[in-house]
């Protein structure tokens, strides 16, 4: 017994000492970055630290809402965060973001003009785009012989129990609204009711409502059609060449993840330094190459693999995106979406 107590005490002492030791010697200035999990090439931290002598403390989140809670509640002091479009809109309206001084971000000029001035940040005062993409249908060419150019194919009884839908209310209701010819940001209750009926009608055909596991399922050929994000589609096509991606002609969702400076930041200039660094061609290229999503950085895109640049999945022609919309912050109306999604899932 004594031995155990001694061992425990020793363990505690050792771990405390280690903790205190690592706690010291952090006189270097730090920068706190809050990003999606596995959404950066971590080797760039070293480059940044060597160049500017600023240590990066890196944390990750899984959903926009997780990040929002952390920043809104206070008690955190992140300098740079990477929210998506509608969340940026919400954070701007709740006065959670600093206006960026673009004079400190000369590399902003490399960001394509077509990726600026979207509704989530209409004056382009608060955000620098990091990655973008679309939502579309991925299909297995060995199992689907119709042309896939419309959301209607997800309602085709021929593919009963071979369709995977996203278990995400905004996305699933959004594409249904698009199929019916409405805006995916609609606040019209009748249009939402129509979407609900369509989703309930579709439900017997759906194999499963899935999240991230959609990738493994499609690669393994477990289903014929699935709704996915374009970035994941590039990866799936890479793992299984039978898979093709299409953006339906009715239009779809166009999404952005962008860098912002939350008001929790204690050093706005260093945050701007970091954003500028992230927008430098070599760094933007490293990140785009590691993540595989589409970069809005024109110079970085040109450095990418020839096949990827010409891949319409990752870099569609802009005219294909005419009908696409960016999610808007629905604030209180989101409850209606919640309600509809619950009703669909409960059937």
């Amino acid at each position: 017994m004594k031995k155990i107590i001694k061992a425990v005490v020793a363990m505690v002492l050792i771990s405390t000492v280690i903790f205190i030791m690592t706690g010291c010697g952090q006189s270097k200035p730090t920068l706190k970055v809050y990003n999606w999990g596995d959404y950066i090439d971590e080797s760039i931290f070293k480059d940044f630290e060597e160049e500017y002598g600023i240590r990066i403390i890196y944390d990750t989140f899984a959903t926009n809402e997780d990040m929002y809670i952390k920043i809104k509640a206070g008690g955190s002091d992140y300098d740079v965060a990477f929210p998506s479009d509608y969340m940026i809109e919400r954070m701007i309206s709740e006065d959670l973001l600093y206006e960026i001084n673009y004079n400190n971000i000369p590399n902003y000029k490399y960001i394509g003009d077509e990726f600026k001035n979207f509704s989530y940040d209409p004056t382009n005062g608060y955000s620098v785009p990091y990655m973008w993409g679309t939502v579309g249908i991925i299909y297995n060419t060995t199992m689907v012989d119709d042309t896939v150019d419309s959301w209607d194919i997800l309602w085709n009884e021929k593919y009963a129990k071979q369709i995977l839908m996203l278990d995400s209310q905004r996305d699933s209701i959004g594409i249904t609204l698009k199929k019916l010819g409405y805006s995916l940001n609609t606040k019209n209750v009748d249009e939402l009711e129509a979407a609900k009926d369509a989703l309930i009608e579709q439900k017997p055909l759906v194999l499963a409502y899935v999240g991230d596991e959609v990738k493994d399922k499609m690669i393994a050929g477990e289903a014929a059609l699935a709704v996915v994000w374009s970035g994941d589609a590039v990866y799936m096509n890479w793992e299984n060449p039978d898979l093709e991606y299409a953006i339906p002609k009715e239009g779809s969702n166009l999404w952005f993840d962008a860098m912002v400076i939350p008001k929790t930041s204690k050093n706005k200039e260093n945050a701007e330094l970091f954003i500028n660094f992230m927008s430098r061609t070599d760094i933007a290229f490293k990140n785009a190459d590691y993540i595989g999503y589409s970069t809005p950085h024109i110079e970085a895109r040109n450095l990418l693999d020839e096949d990827l640049i010409n891949d319409p999945t990752a870099y569609p022609e802009l005219e294909d995106l005419v009908n696409c919309e960016v999610f808007k912050d629905l604030s209180d109306f989101l409850r209606e979406y919640d309600k509809i999604w619950t009703e669909v899932k409960a059937r």
């Binding site: 017994m1 155990i4 425990v8 363990m11 505690v12 771990s15 405390t16 280690i18 903790f19 730090t30 706190k32 809050y34 999606w36 999990g37 596995d38 959404y39 971590e42 931290f45 403390i57 890196y58 944390d59 990750t60 989140f61 899984a62 959903t63 997780d66 509640a73 206070g74 008690g75 955190s76 002091d77 992140y78 999240g211 991230d212 990738k215 493994d216 399922k217 499609m218 690669i219 393994a220 990866y235 793992e239 299984n240 993540i291």
Partner: protein, 260 residues
């Protein structure tokens, strides 16, 4: 004959369902491809990348340090509390016990959010310290609950006999009571340790920038897909625990033989 065959089959099925997921995880930690949908060949690259991944390594470090510190401190506080509660009068004891049970029954999310609000209200910066305090807080009731039954089983005449034989109360506590309730203390410690190791909800709300544990790091990978590095890490952790168990069992059976 048939019965024994069925019994074995039943046991096999139970163990199969318990361990099949872990086996799949271990197998896929050696998969060349990042996807679980295809097998592209054997590789050790995820193990190499794991040790180069600063974020996962610091999360692992935080998780282990927090687990050791919080379970040790909670065991000390919890054991002292249990001895105190045991010696209370009936009414007071049941009241304090109800107060102890409450955090156990409380959903984690309520504990997490209320702790976060408390820390923010007290203007303590969220980080390592708040994470540690939160873990100690939710661990203490579990220690009390595992130590109390041992105290109830304890023959109180042993303590009185020790006093009669000239031991001071603190000497009797150290030499008589603590050794007698040691199994309960160790159970409480291990329970606290495992609870701290895999807590997600409370940690999520009480940690601040720069400090995250494994469960938070793994959860945050949900959108892009869990990186196979995590499979490699889980495999290492599983093998370590397995080896520890085997060593402990070996030593236990050895001492048993000596005793006999």
């Amino acid at each position: 004959m048939v019965m024994s065959y069925l019994k074995k089959l039943y046991a096999f099925i139970i163990f199969f369902f318990l361990y099949a997921p872990i086996m799949v995880l271990i197998v896929f930690s050696f998969n060349e491809s990042k996807s679980r949908g295809s097998w592209d060949g054997f590789t050790l690259k995820w193990y190499i990348e794991l040790f180069q991944d600063r974020q996962i390594m610091s999360a692992l470090y935080n998780t282990i340090v927090i687990a050791i510190l919080s379970s040790t401190i909670a065991t000390a506080i919890g054991t002292a509390a249990a001895i105190g509660i045991h010696n209370m009068k009936q009414f007071k004891r049941s009241m304090v016990m109800n107060l102890t049970y409450l955090p156990v029954l409380n959903p984690d999310i309520v504990t997490g959010i209320s702790l976060m609000l408390l820390f923010i209200f007290l203007k303590i910066r969220l980080g390592f310290l708040t994470l540690l305090l939160a873990h100690i807080t939710f661990n203490i009731p579990y220690v009390i609950i595992s130590v109390l039954p041992k105290l109830k089983q304890l023959n109180k005449h042993i303590y009185e006999a020790a006093l009669d034989l000239g031991a001071s109360p603190s000497y009797a506590l150290r030499k008589v009571i603590i050794p007698e309730i040691m199994p309960g203390i160790i159970t409480g410690f291990l329970l606290a340790f495992t609870l701290s190791l895999d807590d997600f909800v409370i940690s999520f709300f009480t940690t601040g920038s720069g400090v995250s544990n494994l469960s938070i790091t793994i959860y945050s990978m949900a959108r892009r897909g869990i990186n196979p590095k995590i499979n490699a890490l889980s495999t290492i952790m599983f093998v370590t625990v397995l080896l520890l168990l085997i060593i402990v069992n070996k030593r236990m059976s050895k001492t048993n033989i000596i005793k006999e």
